[in-house]
């Protein structure tokens, strides 16, 4: 189920209304059933995959807590392998077989014949990537790791544990939560709190604004610029504008989703972690990654970077670890070389940033030249997004070839008319102003809340672009 749909709105109203009428001891069941329905709307059979990992991790958590020595490690490994294994099979099988087939073809001149996943599994249906797979597997792994580290007790209630993995607001695109934050909340009695409802609804309204008014609108221009076969014919100015728009499209799409998820949980009284903190005002790449998709970057930091030694080892090893993390991050985002390259590029950015801090710290210090730093950081991130959006490496190259050539000075393509372009810049400006000044929409006054919420509903309806585009991060 996608958030920007009537079905979700009715589903949400039904679940929340029933939530506050059902006794606390049955709320976990209501939320679990609702979350199962939410997930099954995509493809009902895939709930079995989800429950497969849930059962293994539930058992693993209990056994790890009760065991000692190698048994603990064994069960941790079982849990990690089951989650990573599911991810590897559904997300990366075709990537590996496709690349091996390509290599065979290159080396021998004959095509490789390794099957794709649909052929390999032979279930009689086309096998597609289960929605939200990358998110809930990482969330599940954080649970068993925390139990293994002794930082969190194993959850004995199967239903509550299943709900931790499947809680519908963050099931398919995060935030990737930690057990310490979420699991205890499912045990707490959540009384109806009008302030939470107002704050949650307002955050959802703002999230919808970002998604339907900003992201979907910018997508009109971006999609036209990146349309199949069109990139090479576009001017550099067109592709530069498309790159700029895409930076805000992906930000509004993803952070909008997070706002709807966090706001939706808030309405019921649950607090999910912040996932974005005005990332485009960052003065460095490292700061950007402390503000963008916070739940993923902290996951990699806590469970991969620090165990690899973090920055407590040699300088060279630190840089290697940094590069590995971002390579993995790129791989997490997608199963094509474009995503891997995007991740590697950010790794290189970060390493250069660290080198600059270490050896050229006094040159153009950040504190003094914040605007220049923020601008350059945004530019680097914007160009990296080209690899994210383009369908292939060849397309990415074509985009840069357009931008960094005399084609930059050719006229811009009017994939939108002038009014539409102005409006697009206007909504980006509104977004930036709100983020720059950390403006919080005040919901304390009831009258103000009703007016603002009604205004948001009307604005989102009137200026929203409703073409049923899925959220970009759903594909991960």
């Amino acid at each position: 189920m996608i958030f920007n749909s009537l079905l979700f709105i009715f589903f949400f109203i039904a679940v929340v209304s029933t939530f506050f009428m059902v006794p606390h001891r049955w709320r976990w069941l209501l939320l679990l059933v609702a979350s199962c329905y939410f997930y099954m709307v995509f493809k009902p059979e895939y709930i079995l995959i989800l429950f497969f990992t849930i059962i293994i991790d539930y058992i693993a958590g209990i056994v790890i807590e009760k065991s000692s020595g190698t048994a603990r490690k064994t069960w941790l490994v079982i849990s990690l392998i089951s989650n990573i294994g599911i991810l590897a099979v559904f997300k990366y099988f075709n990537f590996f077989t496709g690349n091996i087939n390509g290599l065979i073809s290159f080396l021998t001149g004959s095509p490789g014949h390794l099957p794709n996943l649909t052929q390999f599994l032979n279930w009689g249906i086309e096998v597609i990537l289960p929605i939200g797979l990358s998110f809930h597997t990482f969330q599940a792994m954080s649970y068993t790791i925390e139990v293994y580290r002794g930082k969190f007790p194993a959850e004995k209630h199967f239903g509550i544990y299943a709900l931790y993995v499947m809680f519908f607001p963050q099931l398919v695109a995060g935030p990737i939560e930690r057990p310490q934050n979420v699991l205890p909340q499912f045990w707490q009695k959540k009384d109806y709190n009008w302030e939470n409802v107002k704050a949650g609804l307002m955050q959802m309204a703002w999230g919808f604004f970002k998604k339907v008014v900003v992201a979907n609108r910018l997508a009109i221009y971006v999609d036209a610029a990146y349309a199949s076969g069109q990139i090479g014919t576009q001017s550099g100015s067109t592709m530069l504008l498309a790159a700029f728009f895409y930076s805000f499209q992906i930000y509004c799409d993803f952070s909008g989703y997070s706002d709807i998820a966090i706001g939706g949980a808030k309405v019921m009284g649950y607090d999910l972690m912040e996932n974005f903190r005005t990332p485009y005002f960052s003065a460095s790449i490292s700061e950007f990654w402390r503000r963008w998709h916070i739940s993923l970057s902290t996951w990699f930091k806590d469970y991969v970077y620090i165990p690899l030694g973090g920055n407590r080892i040699s300088e060279f090893r630190t840089y290697v670890n940094t590069f590995i993390i971002f390579l993995l991050s790129g791989f997490w985002h997608g199963n094509t070389w474009n995503f891997v390259f995007w991740g590697a590029l950010h790794g290189v950015y970060l390493i250069f940033g660290q080198l600059k801090s270490r050896y050229l710290g006094n040159v153009l210090p950040e504190e003094k030249y914040k605007i220049a730093h923020s601008f350059s950081t945004f530019t680097l991130v914007m160009f990296a997004w080209v690899f994210f959006r383009a369908r292939s490496f060849a397309d990415s190259k074509a985009v840069f070839a357009s931008i960094f050539s005399s084609k930059l000075f050719e006229p811009i393509a009017m994939h939108m008319n002038v009014n539409h372009l102005i409006f697009s810049f206007l909504v980006i400006a509104i977004l930036c102003i709100k983020e720059k000044y950390r403006y919080v929409i005040d919901t304390k006054s009831d009258a103000k809340f009703y007016l603002l919420f009604a205004a948001f509903v009307m604005i989102n309806y009137f200026f929203g672009v409703f073409n049923k585009e899925q959220f970009i991060y759903f594909q991960f």
Partner: protein, 346 residues
């Protein structure tokens, strides 16, 4: 405060329950449509439903062609007409027994062809009419040779028996559920006005219309977006090779020969032009309909209406719909009856 909160909670539950009932219970839906509790969102046309532009709204009477037909003549009473066709032959809106001047009539939709054993319906003169709209012709023609395949009427039957479980998830798939919910809650005139204002604003200020609908180059008509996509073989702007055209003629020949062997006395092919095709200059199109009309191989069996429809889109097509108007339907009926009577074997 507690009373008002409870009222709000129960109201929200009632509203969402009403929505869920509509999603899960087809009988409820049919009852509401029959008793006009739900308004038919297609009553002003499929293009209007997508674009919500008040300037491009069909007249409701355009969907009641059957009630407008004066059918007192019986010059076809010695004929049996079998039509294989699409929504242009819709039995509620455009075409039924009464349209055929005394002839026996049966209609088989393209979707039902594989499940139907197509054969003449009586011992009098049997006419088979193959009707298809231009945008579906090139994709559908690859299945023409299967029309008369023996025992093909068993195909597809198993698909009808999908389980309740599959049907439930089919309905609850987001895109379908949204269509149902929008029909249930937002199909009324008040919401129609709101949608029109939004659509008008987007059209006039941003020159944007819904993805489903596009303007013809002269901006005089709304058409289905694929009809304007030169990369889609549903469009008259998409080139057609000689080889593909030959394959089309071969397919028509095949149907003609098979139909005659099954007992049909006459076969008539009719391709209804896309609405967009009649608004675009002939030399800008792929020329498919002109070629079909000029083809000597199929001229005896082909009903050419392109020249009649060309540049008369505002008369023969509906303003807010992809289908023809009653006038367009009438013209087609007149011409096809002429062809039946003129070509009728002795």
């Amino acid at each position: 405060m507690k009373i008002s909160t409870n009222i709000l909670k129960f109201s929200l539950i009632a509203v969402s329950f009403y929505g869920i009932i509509g999603l899960l219970w087809p009988t409820f839906y049919k009852f509401c449509f029959k008793n006009e509790i739900f308004s038919d969102q297609y009553r002003f046309g499929d293009l209007y439903k997508a674009a919500n532009l008040a300037d491009f709204k069909s007249k409701e009477s355009d969907f009641f062609c059957l009630e407008m037909r004066n059918l007192n003549t019986s010059e076809l009473q010695n004929y049996a007409i079998t039509v294989i066709g699409d929504s242009f032959m819709d039995s509620v809106k455009f075409m039924n027994q009464q349209c055929w001047n005394g002839a026996k009539y049966q209609f088989i939709h393209w979707n039902e062809v594989q499940k139907t054993n197509i054969k003449p319906i009586s011992t009098i003169k049997n006419i088979l009419i193959i009707e298809i709209v231009e945008r579906n012709l090139r994709n559908q023609s690859q299945y023409f040779t299967e029309i008369f395949e023996e025992n093909n009427f068993n195909k597809g039957v198993e698909n009808d028996n999908s389980s309740t479980w599959n049907q439930f998830w089919e309905i609850n798939h987001t895109s379908k559920a949204d269509i149902l919910l929008e029909q249930q809650f937002f199909g009324y005139s008040f919401f129609q006005k709101l949608k029109q204002k939004k659509a008008y604003f987007n059209w006039k200020v941003f020159e944007q219309v819904d993805d489903f609908a596009q303007f013809t180059p002269d901006k005089k008509a709304l058409v289905y977006y694929k009809e304007m996509d030169k990369n889609s073989n549903e469009s008259c702007l998409n080139p057609i090779s000689e080889k593909e055209f030959d394959q089309l003629e071969n397919a028509f020949d095949h149907i003609k020969n098979e139909a005659k062997s099954k007992g049909f006395d006459q076969v008539i092919f009719s391709v209804i032009p896309n609405k967009s095709t009649v608004y675009i200059e002939k030399d800008r199109t792929n020329g498919l309909l002109q070629k079909l009309g000029d083809s000597r191989r199929i001229s005896d069996n082909y009903l050419n209406i392109y020249s009649d429809f060309y540049q008369k889109g505002n008369i023969y097509y509906q303003l807010g719909d992809t289908h023809w108007s009653c006038a367009g339907r009438d013209l087609w009926l007149t011409k096809i009856k002429q062809k039946i009577l003129n070509n009728s074997p002795q």
